[in-house]
């Protein structure tokens, strides 16, 4: 209960942040040359000024900037994200259609990066300054330096074009209609390369943090006590060190939620995944400002939600946090 109250307070504190983001984004987009109506007019092949003015009135673009901002914020309060003139649907619908693919990609990339980062970090720390450590740390540096979109393209060349083991893009095989377990396996096969591509840089960061944090915790007094009790080294690491050493990694999940969402823009475009990131890219190209604002809003909500979960997880791992009141 205490944990929830604590996390809830953090959640409430993020409301002003959200307001700043929305106001900032809205004002920023006011500076954009051309609006939705311009884009629409270009699509339908032009029209006269009276028609444009009529359309602006229809989409509420003729009101003053403060009035438009007020309209936007009050509509958002009822979770109405407006209408996407390009897709001909409400922005909320468009985003909801695209959200599952992005969430799936983020969860699988995060699980991959976290678990492998954890294991590799522990191995490196236990063999510090010997060859496994050198190898893992060097790999970490190289993974960190690899541009994700380039890694994705090279993975397609090797695994899809030459070896033909995995599909090169899409979320599922559209030529076959699968159901049940076969469909799950199909989606999983499509997600392997995107997951590796998105997760690689986070794997590098996690293993570095895990290694440093393991080394730090291993030097603390309570570890010496545990060893003095005669516990085996494996037991010391598994029962005493790991839980404490994981705390910085958990913090990092929250801090990097936004980076990961941003990374999915590129990864989804490489692998033609129908996700939120690619929608953002498309709406930039098509000047669909309503949708772009909606995506910023939803991804900000997503980042806040992830941080909420991380707060709870952190408090579970570190009992000292919920004890402080």
């Amino acid at each position: 209960m205490r944990i929830l109250r604590l996390a809830g307070r953090r959640l409430a504190a993020s409301l002003p942040t959200l307001l700043i983001i929305l106001a900032g984004m809205f004002l920023l987009l006011q500076l954009a040359p051309g609006d939705t109506v311009d884009a629409l007019m270009a699509q339908i092949g032009g029209g006269d000024a009276a028609f444009a003015a009529e359309m602006r009135r229809f989409y509420g673009l003729d009101a003053g900037v403060p009035a438009q901002l007020w309209n936007y914020l009050s509509r958002l309060a009822t979770l109405d994200l407006g209408h996407s003139a390009i897709y001909g649907k409400s922005v909320a619908t468009v985003i909801l259609e695209r959200l599952p693919a992005t969430l799936l990609l983020m969860v699988s990339a995060l699980s991959f990066a976290f678990s492998f980062g954890l294991v590799l970090g522990v191995i490196a720390a236990r063999r510090v300054n010997r060859w496994p450590d050198t190898l893992i740390s060097t790999l970490g540096l190289i993974f960190y330096a690899t541009p994700s979109f380039w890694f994705g393209l090279m993975a397609i060349v090797v695994f899809s074009v030459h070896l033909q083991w995995l599909p090169a893009g899409g979320l599922s095989d559209i030529t076959r209609s699968l159901s049940g377990l076969a469909a799950v396996v199909d989606v999983a096969r499509h997600l392997v390369l995107p997951t590796l591509t998105l997760g690689l840089i986070f794997l590098a960061i996690y293993l570095r943090i895990m290694r440093a944090s393991m080394l730090e915790v291993l030097s603390l007094d309570f570890v010496r006590t545990a060893r003095a009790k005669g516990l085996s080294e494996t037991r010391v690491v598994a029962r005493h060190v790991l839980r404490n050493a994981m705390l910085p990694m958990v913090t990092l999940i929250g801090l990097q939620a936004g980076t990961m969402l941003g990374g999915s823009v590129v990864v989804e475009s490489v692998f033609a995944l129908p996700g939120l990131g690619r929608l953002a890219y498309e709406s930039v190209v098509q000047r669909d400002l309503n949708t772009l604002l909606g995506i910023i809003f939803v991804s900000a909500l997503l980042v806040i939600a992830i941080n909420f979960l991380v707060d709870i997880l952190y408090a579970r791992l570190d009992p000292r946090i919920s004890a402080e009141e």
Partner: protein
């Protein structure tokens, strides 16, 4: 001097410096080795590396010399990296210093804004900025600087929070020195080392952000950029994969160089932390 010696003793720093120096030399000598326009037609398109001795790294789908684009691209990547990092450091240090030094309402307001910037995924914000202000190389560089400052601000603020109550700062305050003097002459020099180390991370991220933007063809198309070339190579990926592969290696090595130098700086400037490794 001691810091420089420590820096040169670390193998990571030396390897990183050598790589970065090589990229720098590539960028500086680009006009000398490849005086023509790197984006101009050079020969028959899609010649494999080694196929034609005139083009050691081959040509791209538009018949442009890949080696020439690589040399000129080094200049663009480094320039964007340096300038965007400088912008991010300037904004971040200013905001972090004011928030950390004054505390209270100033701190709360500035940190709310910082949080807002951190809550929006930085690549999405970059997309919005480029969509609004256009994608010339200047706007892209400034936009990358604008999305990269929040971690610098947080780091600077944390340093200022611990330093502002120290005795030497209090002593200066008692002497009646101005706030500007306290911030710029007393606290800032002591707060800088971790910020300088972190600048290497900012620079690596800035180069990656630009190349990702160029890869999506949303950066300046009139500038030879490594990311741009990777994006162009995508259309012929199945057969002529070298078009995308070669500039990617260049980006990888540059980021590796920046990270290694950053690690070396960290070991040299924070000797207390380095001894643990």
């Amino acid at each position: 001097m001691r810091a420089l010696r420590a820096f040169l003793r670390s193998p990571a720093a030396v390897i990183g410096s050598v790589i970065l120096l090589a990229v720098l030399v590539m960028g500086v000598s680009a006009h000398w080795f490849y005086p023509g326009d790197p984006l101009g037609l050079a020969g028959r398109p899609l010649q494999w590396p080694g196929q034609n001795p005139r083009f050691p790294l081959g040509t791209d789908p538009s018949g442009r010399d890949i080696a020439a684009q690589l040399f000129h691209g080094a200049r663009v990547s480094l320039l964007i990296g340096f300038v965007a990092t400088a912008i991010a450091a300037l904004i971040g240090i200013a905001i972090g210093a004011l928030a950390g030094f004054y505390g209270g309402a100033v701190d709360t307001a500035l940190m709310r804004v910082t949080e807002a910037f951190q809550t929006v995924p930085n690549f999405l914000l970059l997309l919005v900025l480029v969509a609004v202000f256009g994608s010339t190389i200047e706007t892209v560089t400034i936009a990358i600087g604008i999305v990269s400052w929040p971690p610098v601000a947080r780091l600077t603020r944390a340093e200022f929070l611990t330093l502002r109550t120290r005795d030497f700062v209090q002593a200066c305050r008692v002497q009646g020195l101005s706030d500007a003097h306290l911030i710029l002459r007393e606290v800032l020099p002591n707060a800088l080392p971790p910020v300088i180390v972190y600048a290497s991370v900012v620079m690596a991220v800035a180069i990656l952000l630009e190349s990702a933007l160029a890869f999506l063809q949303l950066s300046d198309p009139n500038v030879p950029s490594w990311g741009n070339l990777i994006g162009l190579g995508r259309n012929v990926l199945r057969t002529e994969w070298y078009v995308s592969a070669i500039p990617g290696v260049a980006i990888l090595l540059t980021i590796l160089g920046v990270s290694l130098v950053g690690q070396g700086l960290n070991d040299a400037l924070n000797p207390r932390l380095a001894s643990g490794r």
